[in-house]
């Protein structure tokens, strides 16, 4: 099962038949495994990795460090939930170290990001501080490198 998941993580478009062939299993068994993983929230979704820089879509991504005062009983989870419920929030992680949550957010402009931080994020009860960093350039994301690969020159080679 982990083997199948690793393959899907690399390329979500492998069909059950292809996965079956690669893993030496039956297609039926692979379909069952996929269904079980989806059912159990192991397989949460299938996304594409896109270099928006190459399109005419305007986008800004920010990484926000958030400090919070954990609440009795709920710890960090309740505050994290209040943050991740916003659709524009891409990722939320609980961190060790100097701050508590990493929030990653994509908007159309710097202004919209600022608005999110001061109007939505900062006022949440328990949030004690934020530091916003804008992403200037993406080199690699989810194992995909954003610059085109330079191919080696064609070679007459006889092996």
């Amino acid at each position: 099962m982990t083997e199948m998941l690793k393959l899907l993580e690399k390329d979500a478009r492998y069909t059950p038949a292809e996965l079956a062939a690669m893993l030496g299993k039956s297609e039926e068994a692979v379909r069952k495994d996929i269904a079980a993983c989806e059912e159990n929230n192991i397989l949460l979704g299938y996304g594409a990795v896109i270099d928006w820089e190459r399109t005419d879509e305007e986008m800004v991504t920010a990484l926000i460090e958030v400090k919070i005062a954990p609440q009795r009983g709920d710890g960090y989870d309740r505050i994290a939930e209040r943050i991740y419920q916003y659709e524009e929030v891409e990722s939320v992680f609980l961190m060790s170290g100097a701050f508590d949550l990493t929030v990653i957010l994509t908007e159309r402009s710097l202004k919209e990001i600022s608005t999110f931080v001061y109007a939505k994020l900062a006022p949440i009860e328990g949030v004690t501080g934020t530091a916003t960093h804008f992403i200037m350039k993406k080199y690699k994301y989810n194992n995909r490198i954003f610059s085109p690969v330079i191919e080696q020159e064609e070679r007459p080679l006889y092996i």
Partner: protein
């Protein structure tokens, strides 16, 4: 006018150009072609290995190394061979770092073969052995391996090929082009034939790490075989380092000493930058090997299944990154099949007879190609076969 033809060495002229060549020539000017032809990893050398090469340049390590190669590299290779294959070779006396496995093969043959000596070469196999033997003045004696034996060398076929003039047996497993392996029992049967003779073995184990069933067994690890074995290995296939040109040869100290003379006069020393990268590879690259092997294994299973669907029969190849399916069901010869496939569908595979006449009726496909390309290649192959 110079009469070059009469000037050229007759031995060199007698060597036929590689049979693979024509098909690569056809590939030119075909940008959309998918090649399952070239036998090399599609991976780029892992970064930490490349970085070690770069670092050595930054440090200014640009001089020759000792003839036999950096001692640290030989020590690491010795450790690696022990750790992976339970073989012990003295890094100071029993090992030379070479320019690819290719040079290692050349050294082994040249150090042993005199005119009149016979060298047994199982076929189908990598194309270099016969010509190198010919250049050394020896006589290649080809032994055909067969599909019904999964292209393994059998004791009977070997025994039948031995004459009083037999000097050397080339043992090319895991095999290019068939993907055949020799399991422990097969190797032991070959060893039994050799025991008590003074025939040497040149064991080309360049694909040793790419064995998908049981772990590869080196003939050098079989009792009485160590002292007659010249072991050839290298970095090209297992670490995706073909362009670095790094290989090595191990064997009895007395023989290595003679090989070192040839190496010293013909090559001087293997490339220095590559040697530094190779230290990193062999010391810290076991994980990379595992990762790439895993990936090849996915593709191997995929390609075997697709071949079955196409009705091209193939035994379960368990080594290297080749499959060698029979194309006899198409009614075409190997060359006709390959030519049609490339002209009509832009897919390159290599006719089996390029690796020895008994490869007729088969083709070699290399699956060190992304799954995406393999998929597309099989889509096109199906169109070609359906139109026959």
């Amino acid at each position: 006018m110079m009469d070059y033809d009469s000037l050229l060495s007759r031995k060199v002229k007698s060597i036929a150009p590689s049979g693979i060549r024509r098909f690569f020539d056809l590939l030119e000017d075909r940008p959309d072609a998918i090649s399952l032809g070239v036998g090399e990893p599609d991976f780029v050398t892992p970064w930490h290995i490349r970085d070690a090469g770069v670092y050595s340049l930054e440090k200014g390590f640009t001089k020759y190394t000792s003839n036999a190669g950096l001692l640290e590299l030989r020590r690491q290779i010795s450790n690696y061979l022990f750790r992976r294959f339970n073989l012990y070779y003295d890094p100071k006396k029993q090992m030379i770092v070479t320019v690819g496995g290719s040079e290692a093969i050349d050294l082994g043959v040249r150090a042993l073969v005199d005119p009149g000596d016979e060298v047994i070469i199982p076929i189908p196999s990598f194309v270099c052995y016969g010509p190198i033997v010919t250049l050394a003045g020896g006589t290649p004696v080809y032994v055909e391996t067969k599909a019904e034996n999964e292209f393994r060398l059998t004791a009977e076929d070997l025994r039948a090929a031995i004459t009083p003039r037999t000097k050397l047996l080339v043992l090319p497993f895991p095999n290019n082009p068939t993907g055949a392996i020799m399991e422990q029992k097969d190797i032991e049967a070959v060893a039994e034939v050799l025991r008590g003779t003074d025939i040497m073995v040149l064991s080309d184990e360049i694909y040793a790490e790419l064995s998908y069933g049981d772990k590869h067994v080196s003939i050098a690890s079989i009792p009485d075989m160590y002292e007659r074995t010249i072991l050839v290995n290298g970095f090209s296939k297992s670490y995706a380092m073909t362009g670095w040109r790094m290989g090595y040869v191990c064997g009895p100290a007395v023989i290595i000493k003679q090989m070192l003379k040839i190496h010293q006069y013909a090559i001087m020393s293997a490339p220095t930058t590559s040697q530094y990268a190779a230290i990193e590879a062999v010391r810290d690259g076991d994980r990379d090997i595992e990762m790439m092997k895993n990936d090849y294994n996915y593709r191997r299973r995929y390609i075997l299944e697709e071949l079955e669907k196409l009705g091209l029969h193939c035994f379960e190849a368990k080594g290297a990154f080749y499959v060698f399916p029979s194309i006899q069901s198409t009614g075409l010869t190997s060359e006709e099949f390959c030519e049609r496939l490339i002209m009509e569908q832009n897919v390159a595979v290599i006719p089996g007879n390029a690796f020895g006449s008994c490869g007729e009726g088969f083709v070699r496909m290399c699956y060190a190609t992304s799954l995406k390309e393999l998929k597309e290649a099989f889509r096109r192959m199906k169109i070609c076969i359906d139109s026959l």
